[in-house]
């Protein structure tokens, strides 16, 4: 009996080891950025990329837009930027892409998203010319890598790998000290497209893609009838808070202090 149990365990161990060898930990493990994604009611959806970059960066933005548009679930289109490279303020419903000399603060690129829960409502992608204006970063390969990666983050993608010194994975979502490779890390790879398909496999009941709701951007807040619903009065009655809800997470809060 004891021998049978021992043999059974040995067989089980062998089978487990065989399974590990046959199905190793995959390099294509998920690389989504938490559960962040743009809310939309249908696929594919089109995300606008606001062009606030200088002429040096235009071709790289165009390449990035074309690359990511090969996805089955999203397309990108380049539109005029709504901000400046320096300020790089976000615009609801789209991604503003910017470059400027942001200082020797340690980063080449910075992608930021704003979210309502897990739904991305706006994003920015910044390229730091404080580094790109000099070696080793003033190369097409580095510009492609960083532009592609930062814009990719605004879709809800994380890095595939964060070790700069190992062999390139062949994707711009991979850290590297040698973006041209081989293999090149200047463009997305199939795993990025597969990950996007996974992130955006479901549909939402609302959308955060596109322009802000009608009337939001230029809302007239001078007249009290445009303030929406009063949600709070101060104890002394001298001030109040109103909220006007435009839907899809767009709200205008009006704080008022009454004149005596």
């Amino acid at each position: 009996m004891r021998n049978k149990k021992s043999s059974y365990r040995s067989v089980l161990m062998f089978v487990l080891m065989l399974a590990l060898v046959a199905f190793p930990a995959s390099v294509s493990a998920g690389h989504s950025w938490g559960s962040y994604h743009w809310a939309r009611t249908s696929n594919p959806f089109t995300l606008k990329l606001g062009d606030n970059v200088t002429s040096t960066w235009d071709s790289y933005l165009a390449t990035t837009s074309a690359d990511w548009s090969q996805s089955t679930v999203l397309d990108t289109t380049i539109v005029s930027g709504s901000t400046t490279g320096r300020k790089c303020r976000a615009t609801a419903g789209r991604v503003e892409v910017c470059n400027a000399s942001y200082g020797n603060n340690g980063w080449l690129g910075l992608a930021s998203i704003w979210a309502s829960g897990s739904h991305i409502t706006q994003g920015t992608a910044k390229m730091n010319d404080s580094y790109f204006n000099s070696a080793p970063y003033n190369t097409p390969a580095y510009r492609n890598l960083v532009m592609c990666q930062e814009v990719g983050h605004t879709f809800g993608l994380d890095h595939q790998d964060e070790i700069q010194t190992n062999t390139n994975l062949g994707t711009c979502m991979d850290y590297t000290n040698n973006p041209s490779g081989p293999p090149s890390n200047e463009h997305p790879n199939q795993h990025d497209y597969d990950q996007l398909a996974t992130i955006y496999a479901h549909l939402d009941s609302t959308t955060t893609v596109g322009s802000a709701p009608a009337g939001f951007a230029n809302a007239d807040v001078h007249a009290q009838e445009n303030w929406g619903t009063k949600v709070r009065d101060s104890a002394d009655g001298r001030s109040a808070l109103f909220v006007r809800d435009f839907g899809n997470g767009f709200k205008i809060f009006t704080f008022v202090t009454w004149a005596k």
């Binding site: 980063w107 080449l108 930021s112 979210a115």
Partner: protein
């Protein structure tokens, strides 16, 4: 016998007292060393680093989208180290908690660093070193403890 016991007792007490006195004098230095090593803000960080033999120079201000205060660069043995000083430890901890363990993201910002980032915190400050200089890393760890995020 009685006197013998009393003598031994006195001897034990004497040894104990002298040992305590010796320890008391030994604890003064560690206490003062511990007090001088407490880092609460940029000024005490600089003092602590200098006490460890680091060459410190003032650098430029530095701004990061993901940290509220305007920071300062201090050069530690020539390497840029960013220091962000908050109004309170609570405010500092609130923002420090947004830094991912590998330092690759802070809140809803993803960062492509030029070199491995190293985040430290103490008192009211977050300290960020981007680089791989072992001497600088050792100095920072000596005065700030282990990094709380980074690679």
């Amino acid at each position: 016998m009685k006197y013998h016991i009393q003598f031994v007792l006195l001897l034990v007490i004497a040894i104990t007292v002298s040992g305590c006195a010796g320890n008391a004098s030994a604890t003064i230095s560690p206490t003062s060393t511990i007090e001088s090593a407490i880092v609460e803000d940029q000024a005490s960080l600089v003092a602590a680093l200098q006490a460890e033999g680091a060459a410190i120079e003032a650098g430029d201000p530095v701004e990061q989208d993901f940290f509220s205060p305007l920071g300062n660069i201090i050069k530690v043995n020539g390497a840029d180290v960013q220091v962000f000083e908050y109004e309170s430890a609570e405010a500092m901890e609130n923002e420090a908690s947004q830094v991912a363990p590998d330092g690759g993201s802070i809140g809803t910002s993803m960062v492509m660093w030029v070199d491995p980032p190293h985040f430290y915190k103490a008192g009211r400050i977050i300290v960020l070193y981007i680089g791989s200089d072992e001497t600088v890393l050792s100095l920072l760890e000596q005065v700030l403890g282990k990094q709380f995020a980074g690679r």
